[in-house]
């Protein structure tokens, strides 16, 4: 397992809120809504600010009902389904995210391809898991703060799903963090989990996105701000992993001292790297 990058060490954390960042964000927005891109399309930037695209495949895993589909919809700026039902088969969603690299000050457009599948389909059909795992760059493991079983299932998920992919990025995301009054997963358990697994951990709230003035369509820009820490965190780990794989930075080295407290969450991401010591 490669050493985890410090939050904010790879990607400029609040760049998307700067003037330059906002300009770049406009390529994934249209009239303040998130643009949907077909597989034949990609965001177009003006020639003077053209940026490279880095594509990654990310498999979203987790117990049924933790909110995998809802998380992906949120990241893509789409409506979260009102009625819950298990995802039928596999569905993939493409999210483009421009970000600025700390080291080279270069802007890169990340193309995240999220693979989401229902747990029942996974069990029922043999072809689904191999297709999802094939050439995956990252695994997102979801648990819900309101469902303790989904948290306790994480170690099993980690070994079952990502056991044979040692070089892929693994991240853990706790959903429904807004319902902390009813949380089944206390902070001390999270700390213990982080220490044991040395994995980045993020939290997301499952609150409805802000709407535009018409009251119906989702506000794309506000939605992006809500999920920026996840997209940046994901981009950071994936980019770092690529650099390690290419031999540009030191390879895998276990260093227990460094691993403690390296987890990200929304707050620490925005605050940059001050939590690292």
């Amino acid at each position: 397992m490669a050493r985890l990058p410090a939050p904010g060490s790879v990607i400029v954390p609040d760049w998307h809120e700067s003037t330059e960042g906002k300009e770049h964000l406009s390529c994934i927005l249209r009239k303040n809504r998130r643009r949907v891109f077909g597989l034949l399309e990609r965001p177009v930037l003006p020639p003077q600010v053209a940026a490279d695209t880095a594509s990654y495949k990310i498999f979203v895993s987790g117990k049924s009902g933790v909110g995998k589909t809802a998380l992906v919809a949120k990241l893509a700026g789409l409506e979260v389904p009102v009625i819950h039902h298990e995802t039928v088969g596999i569905q993939t969603t493409v999210v483009y995210w421009p970000a600025k690299l700390q080291a080279s000050e270069r802007v890169v457009i990340f193309r995240f391809e999220f693979w989401d599948c229902g747990e029942a389909a996974l069990k029922k059909f043999d072809h689904i898991l191999p297709a999802c795992k094939e050439k995956t760059d990252a695994f997102l493991f979801l648990f819900s703060f309101t469902d303790r079983a989904s948290f306790e299932d994480l170690p099993a998920q980690l070994s079952r799903i990502a056991g044979d992919a040692p070089n892929a990025v693994k991240m853990v995301i706790g959903s429904k963090f807004d319902q902390y009054m009813h949380t089944d997963v206390p902070e001390r358990d999270l700390t213990a989990f982080r220490q044991a697994w040395e994995l980045p951990l993020l939290r997301v709230k499952s609150v409805p996105g802000r709407r535009l003035a018409d009251g119906r369509t989702l506000d794309g820009r506000a939605g992006l701000l809500d999920v920026a820490h996840i997209l940046n965190g994901l981009g950071e780990h994936l980019w770092h992993q690529d650099q390690v794989a290419a031999g540009l930075i030191p390879g895998p080295r276990r260093s227990p001292q460094m691993a403690v407290g390296q987890a990200l969450d929304g707050a620490s991401d925005r605050r940059g790297s001050q939590e690292q010591d």
């Binding site: 949907v36 891109f37 077909g38 597989l39 034949l40 399309e41 495949k57 919809a73 789409l78 409506e79 389904p81 009625i83 819950h84 039902h85 298990e86 039928v88 088969g89 596999i90 569905q91 993939t92 969603t93 493409v94 391809e113 029942a120 389909a121 029922k124 059909f125 072809h127 689904i128 191999p130 297709a131 094939e134 050439k135």
Partner: protein
């Protein structure tokens, strides 16, 4: 428009036949989703009365109250569907088709085995939630017509052959026989294999793709209700452009991960512009340059042999009822025609042995139009003065009279407000061939009091239904071939010519 005043509700109930456990209940009101649930006692009694009949060896099929129609249907002795509709113009035929399609949708996503051998009702209820989106779309106002016509909704793209070629290419590379391009639920192009899919999956698959939330790609297990109800296939959908999906039905291979963006780009980047043109075409359905007379506000073209249909109410005219209203009118008209005049399975009088004038394959499409000349004709203007009339036409088989036998013209009056209800006034105009009509000079029109006569015609291989609203028609003509048309007075026939040529060219496009 009085659209709001005509809001009826539709309730769909699904229960297990043996135990009467409700599996789900979906509702709509005024064409929009509704969360109103029927009280459990009503659900219970509706099921009870049907069960009571079944115990007495009596099958209760439908019932009608003052404003509501109820239809029951049991599938495989395992699933009972009940629909209650207080919408205008929903005779039993439409509701029966709805139930069949709903069951088809359940099989499509859950599989027949799960529905006929119910081991765990709670599990089944959970699985059936995946079908809500598709089922709701069948209850709501739809831009499609396939649910009624049982034909695949299509659009006619200007660059059909180019798209067809790319489609065939990628289907071969991916090893799939069944591939199609679907633009918002309408088929733009499809391989021969895809067209061979039976009903109802041929209608349901594009419909499903049109109702699912936006995804870049999907690998959906589907059970084909007709072709393979117990063994799932994989439906791969790839969103080439937002609203335009490439669909392929596959076996275990290829995995979704193999359909990479590079493969898609190789096949589709060269035809990107024609693809974009398809999306722009969606509400209209016909290429921009295609001549359709401005008075024609809506059009339904059915190729019953190939089971394809083209349904559009956005041909450019902005006058008249809203597209939603036009759609409802044309749907109501279709329901009325198919249920009252041409019930399925019933033979037209000349369809008996030996009396056929020729094979059905020689039929030509037909399009009706009324003329707005005012004051001419035998009593036609009088009976309809001040009303808005809906003129629709059906063209069917060759009668014993030979090739000149045209179809029937069914004018229906609308309310003063131009909205629903569609009131049938018993007008039925039946032409006895062009010769007879020309001899009489004008087409006749029966008075409102006379009973509707069953038209000696059936919806056969090709039928074109067109409607024209806001006319006080005085003459209406029909004709069966362009050559016969040419002998008409030019002033009157121009629009006809356009309409008829449109019909023929459309048929070639499909």
């Amino acid at each position: 428009m009085a659209e709001e005043s005509t809001e009826g509700a539709v309730h769909l109930l699904c229960l297990t036949t043996s135990s009467g456990v409700p599996l789900f209940c979906r509702s709509s009101r005024g064409g929009a989703p509704s969360r109103q649930q029927l009280p459990f006692s009503i659900i219970g009694s509706l099921n009870g009365v049907h069960m009571f009949g079944a115990n007495m060896d009596v099958t209760l099929r439908s019932a009608r109250t003052k404003d509501t129609a109820v239809v029951w249907k049991t599938f495989h002795d395992s699933i009972s569907l009940i629909v209650l509709s207080s919408e205008q113009g929903s005779p039993e035929l439409r509701l029966e088709r709805l139930l069949e399609l709903v069951f088809g949708a359940m099989v499509l996503l859950v599989g027949l085995e799960e529905l006929t051998q119910i081991r765990n009702v709670e599990r089944l209820k959970k699985d059936l939630r995946a079908t809500y989106g598709l089922i709701d779309s069948l209850l709501l106002d739809s831009e499609l017509m396939g649910d009624l016509t049982q034909c695949v909704d299509c659009i006619a793209p200007p660059d059909g052959p180019l798209l067809q070629e790319a489609l065939a290419g990628i289907a071969e590379e991916m090893g799939s026989v069944f591939a199609s391009l679907v633009a918002r639920g309408r088929v733009v192009a499809a391989t021969q294999g895809w067209w061979r899919l039976g009903a109802p999956e041929s209608v349901l698959l594009p419909w499903l793709v049109g109702t699912l939330p936006v995804q870049a790609a999907r690998d959906y297990p589907v059970y084909l209700p007709h072709g393979s109800p117990t063994v799932p296939h994989r439906l791969l959908t790839l969103m080439l452009l937002p609203g335009l999906d490439l669909c392929m039905l596959c076996g275990p291979q290829p995995p979704l991960s193999q359909v990479e963006p590079q493969v898609l780009e190789r096949w589709w980047q060269p035809v990107l512009e024609p693809l974009r043109a398809c999306l722009a075409l969606v509400p209209r359905g016909l290429p921009a340059g295609f001549p359709v007379h401005p008075d024609i506000l809506g059009l339904l073209l059915l190729h019953l042999e190939q089971r394809r249909g083209l349904f559009t109410v956005e041909l450019g005219g902005v006058e008249g009822p809203s597209p939603r209203s036009r759609r409802r009118l044309l749907r109501s008209f279709y329901v009325l025609v198919t249920s009252s005049y041409f019930p399925p399975g019933q033979q037209a009088p000349w369809e008996g042995e030996g009396s056929l004038g020729g094979p059905r394959s020689q039929l030509i499409p037909f399009l009706f139009r009324g003329r707005i000349t005012g004051g001419e004709g035998r009593g036609a203007g009088r009976s309809c003065r001040g009303c808005q009339s809906l003129l629709c036409g059906v063209r069917g088989g060759r009668g014993p009279g030979g090739p000149g036998r045209p179809g029937a013209l069914l004018p229906f009056e609308l309310g003063e407000d131009g909205g629903l209800p569609l009131r049938e006034r018993g007008h039925l105009l039946q032409h006895r061939g062009l010769g007879a009509e020309r001899a009489s000079g004008q087409a006749g029109c029966r008075g409102p009091g006379s009973p509707p006569r069953r038209a000696a015609i059936s919806l056969t291989r090709t039928s074109v239904l067109a409607m024209e609203l806001r006319v006080r028609y005085s003459t209406a003509r029909c004709c069966s071939s362009t050559s016969a048309l040419r002998s008409w007075e030019p002033a009157r026939s121009t629009a006809w010519m356009v309409a008829l040529v449109s019909g023929n060219r459309l048929m070639n496009l499909m």
